[in-house]
């Protein structure tokens, strides 16, 4: 019976008769045969020809089969070269010696062609199995290395994207485990044109590459829209819509978004599915929690998505402490969770902010938690209103090009006031004027102030005096959301006029609303300090522009910017 596939077989046998007979049996079964007369020759031939299977007599002159088997097994390494001992050894001790020397099977004399054929086939199956296992192992190793390398590259690319933001700002401290990205954690921070700071801490469901994949478009939306002056609400809507569109149904992104306004000393918060964040006093005392009020991003369609944010006062020196669920979800040997309470103890026990992250890690270690590689910690401090953190924006188009003379006027009426924020559009338009680019931040602040004054105080009739303390603050924004979600009546009109001249140019901004107006004299003459917290930001507008006036009983704001052409 010919073998399925020919093997190369080494026969080591000192007896001429047995050697001749065996060689003929094996050859007749379709294999290629090498014959040698002792162990030494067997090893030598193995080195030269690498036969796939060995039939080895146990007792031979010069070098016996045991020693030859040991050497051949060592030379073969991980490859299985089956050795069948040819012997009539009928003593247990001798059989044990065969096994110990690396023998895989035995064959007694007299030889039977049928039994020998069956044994060779069985050994060949074993040999192939081992070869397959080794091949698959090597393949897995190759794939694994390949994957690790891809992750390294992906991380390098992603780091470039995330670090294009302002995570290195002096008021931010963060700690992210090296491969947290591949566990779906995401941390982004960027300045708005007016010097506010947007921060996102996110956590995608799932692990590995699928979790990291959604992070790219999210970062793109976050940076792109923040730079263009969009507010949290617009950014949230875009992020949610984008993730809803691209992610499979069972994937989503828990996220906590912040808008820190240093000017106003406030923080605007939206949290969907993230663990509580903490608002801490300068001394580390817990002031309140930033709790998740929303479904995570990427679940609801645009029409059901809830973009309502909460605005809280945050004084200079006060801090926000945020973290991913990796901390509270850390398990110990007994399968207990670290939990929120233990975290609270660490926070209240902290005396030195610099050591907080270390203390969290130490507490996790004391708890006996298995180390997790998806822990993100973030600590953000409110700075003084006058701080100048935002770097000058660098534009990718050239610096030349003369400003054109133009003007525009448009009006937002009734329901359209609910959904459209015109500030980013206006800002983009104004950025075409090179002379104004140096004051993009100021323009953004002024346009935002004027528009929200016109909308909130003018059209919605909200009283700015509400914002005198933390409670009133919350009440104010709650009322704002309530009125915006009801029926809105009234209008805001905005006019821009650009007038270039030889040495530069000027921009006139006019914002009008249909509201009741306000006592301009009284507000402008009240102390600056009072205005900063509760006023309409009129002082800010005056400070940032060349000229600012309020006419028609406060219903019309006229603000002027000017620029000079650099020689």
């Amino acid at each position: 019976m010919p073998a399925k596939e020919a093997l190369s077989v080494l026969i080591a046998e000192d007896g001429a008769v047995d050697r001749l007979l065996l060689a003929q049996i094996v050859r007749k079964q379709g294999h290629r045969v090498f014959t040698v007369e002792n162990g030494e020759q067997a090893v030598k031939l193995f080195v030269e020809q690498r036969p796939q299977l060995v039939l080895m007599d146990a007792l031979m002159p010069v070098m016996d089969g045991f020693e030859a088997a040991r050497q051949i097994k060592a030379l073969a390494g991980e490859t299985l070269v089956p050795i069948i001992f040819l012997t009539s050894l009928n003593e247990e001790e001798a059989l044990v010696r065969c096994l110990e020397a690396g023998g895989d099977d035995f064959m007694a004399k007299p030889y039977s062609a049928i039994i020998l054929g069956a044994r060779i086939r069985a050994m060949d199956r074993l040999r192939r199995l081992q070869a397959t296992v080794l091949e698959q192992r090597d393949q897995i190793t190759r794939h694994h290395n390949h994957l690790l390398n891809e992750q390294r590259v992906a991380k390098a690319v992603f780091d470039k994207v995330t670090h294009s933001g302002c995570l290195n700002a002096p008021n931010i401290r963060y700690l992210q485990s090296p491969y947290a990205l591949f566990n779906g954690d995401l941390l982004l921070a960027a300045f708005t044109p007016s010097g506010n700071m947007h921060v996102l801490l996110g956590d995608f469901t799932g692990h590995g590459l699928p979790a990291a994949v959604g992070a790219m478009p999210l970062a793109e939306v976050f940076y792109g829209m923040t730079a263009k002056g969009y507010g949290l609400v617009e950014i949230l809507r875009e992020m949610n819509a984008k993730l809803k569109r691209i992610l499979p149904v069972d994937m989503f992104c828990c996220a906590l978004l912040l808008n820190l306004s240093f000017q106003r000393q406030t923080v605007e918060v939206w949290s969907g599915g993230m663990p509580d964040g903490y608002r801490l006093s300068a001394e580390g005392e817990m002031l309140s929690c930033l709790s998740s009020c929303h479904l995570p991003l990427g679940i609801l369609c645009a029409e059901h998505f809830d973009d309502s944010t909460e605005t809280l006062p945050l004084q200079e020196g006060e801090r926000l402490f945020l973290l991913s669920d990796g901390v509270a979800d850390t398990c110990n040997e007994q399968d207990q969770l670290f939990g929120v309470d233990r975290l609270g103890e660490v926070l209240t026990g902290n005396r030195d902010v610099e050591r907080l992250f270390d203390e969290v890690h130490q507490a996790l270690a004391r708890f006996g938690g298995r180390p997790r590689d998806d822990i993100s910690l973030l600590d953000i401090r409110m700075l003084e209103p006058q701080c100048q953190l935002a770097p000058a924006v660098v534009y990718s188009d050239g610096l030349h090009g003369a400003p054109l003379e133009w003007s525009l006027r448009f009006e937002l009426r009734d329901q359209s006031l609910k959904s459209l924020n015109p500030v980013p559009y206006l800002l983009q338009l104004l950025q075409e004027i090179h002379g104004l680019r140096a004051v993009t931040g100021a323009l953004h602040s002024v346009l935002s102030e004027l528009y929200s004054n016109a909308l909130e105080h003018g059209v919605l009739g909200l009283d700015s005096r509400l914002k005198c303390d933390a409670q009133g603050f919350a009440q104010y924004y709650h009322e704002r959301n309530r009125r915006l979600s009801g029926k809105v009546e009234g209008c805001v009109s905005i006019a821009l006029r650009v007038e270039p001249h030889a040495a530069g140019g000027r921009l006139m901004i006019e914002v009008r609303d249909s509201g009741a107006g306000f006592d301009v004299e009284r507000v402008l003459s009240s102390p600056v300090k009072e205005q900063a917290f509760s006023g309409r930001g009129l002082n800010l507008v005056r400070r940032l522009s060349r000229d600012a006036r309020w006419l028609d009983g406060g219903r019309r704001a006229c603000v002027e910017f000017a620029w000079e052409v650099q020689a």
Binding site: A16, V17, D18, L20, L21, Q24, K28, L59, P61, K109
Partner: protein, 115 residues
């Protein structure tokens, strides 16, 4: 009769397996066995004697000479026990048994080379 000393089943299997090499196998066996018999008589120590008995046992069993193989097995076992006195008798019995086997295979060789 020397035919009785040879396992006929083994013999027919050998012819079938060896085909044209059967004659060469017979010649090799006769030559190899001559050599083994000489080694048995000229062995310098027990280990050489045991080794030779072991090899002779293997080849004779493969050639279907069961009785000869059995005598070789006894010798192989016997040399492990000291003293070796009385062992000459066993070697003598192997000599006699081999003469019968030799006679049979010589006849076989003539038959094949004539046919």
């Amino acid at each position: 009769m020397s035919e009785h000393r040879i396992d006929q089943k083994v013999l027919s299997d050998l012819q079938e397996v060896m085909e044209d090499g059967y004659l060469q196998l017979l010649e090799t066996f006769l030559e190899d066995s001559e050599h083994r018999i000489n080694q048995l008589h000229g062995a310098k120590d027990a280990s050489e004697l045991g080794m030779t008995a072991h090899s002779f046992k293997g080849s004779s069993s493969n050639m279907g000479a069961a009785a000869l193989a059995e005598l070789c097995r006894q010798l192989e076992e016997r040399v492990r026990q000291q003293p070796l006195c009385g062992i000459e008798d066993l070697i003598h019995r192997i000599d006699l048994e081999y003469l019968e086997v030799q006679r049979f295979y010589q006849g076989e060789r003539e038959r094949v080379s004539a046919g």
